[in-house]
Point group: C2
Chain length 134, copies 2
């Protein structure tokens, strides 16, 4: 049942104030290529994707004061924010992981859909991304 | 020069108080297989490795009060602790990333060696792992 719930780690997200400055460091010093740079309207963030070879590093910067990550950055320093696993069946995954909750699936980056787990095991925010079915 | 500094993301580390409890959740609920469980003496930690398909989730629990992660857990909640990239040339990588520092290469988990970057971009602790040369 739980085997193969996730197929891979899609990305590790870092919350930052200035996406340009952070992206320059990760590209120019750490040598990671920038492969995406977009605005996700629903969560109110700019997302810069860096290619780490087998997965992505995602820089998340708020574009609105009411974005959840803007609130997070008022309460925390910049830093590791969440991890995101990929699933082939997002709705099944959400029902299993967030039982009894109304769907929180939203339009995420890279043309995908995603939701966040309501439980944060060991204080780790976990996102699950995948194609939205139906 | 900086291209291909890293070959992949080796793991994402989560600092926890109780490795058994955390490992059970990640295995039984999230379906990630445990593929390693060992003590790393130098940093004074127990490391549990979970297979995420393309990379590992590493649970880090202190086994000594003077372990750096024990200090970290006194100052922070459990949670995302560091990310670790893999390199094919650890000494070159350390000289480039930590210029002027004495070597901080230590025996890490999975039979590998590793060092931590002295700079923590956007407050992200970054480890680099690889085979130790010479």
């Amino acid at each position: 049942m739980t085997m193969n719930l996730f197929t891979r780690l899609d990305h590790v997200a870092i919350a930052v104030h200035d996406a340009d400055e952070a992206a320059s460091y990760f590209r120019d010093v750490l040598g990671l290529a920038i492969i995406g740079d977009e605005i996700a309207d629903a969560p109110g963030v700019r997302l810069v994707y860096l290619d780490a070879g087998n997965t992505f590093i995602q820089l998340v910067a708020p574009v609105r004061d009411d974005a959840p990550v803007a609130q997070w950055l008022r309460e925390n320093q910049e830093g590791l924010h969440h991890i995101c696993f990929a699933s082939t069946d997002l709705r099944h995954c959400e029902k299993y992981l967030n039982p009894g909750s109304t769907s929180g699936i939203f339009k995420a980056g890279q043309g995908a859909s995603a939701f966040f787990m309501t439980r944060e095991p060991n204080n780790v925010k976990i996102e699950v991304t995948g194609p939205t079915v139906g």
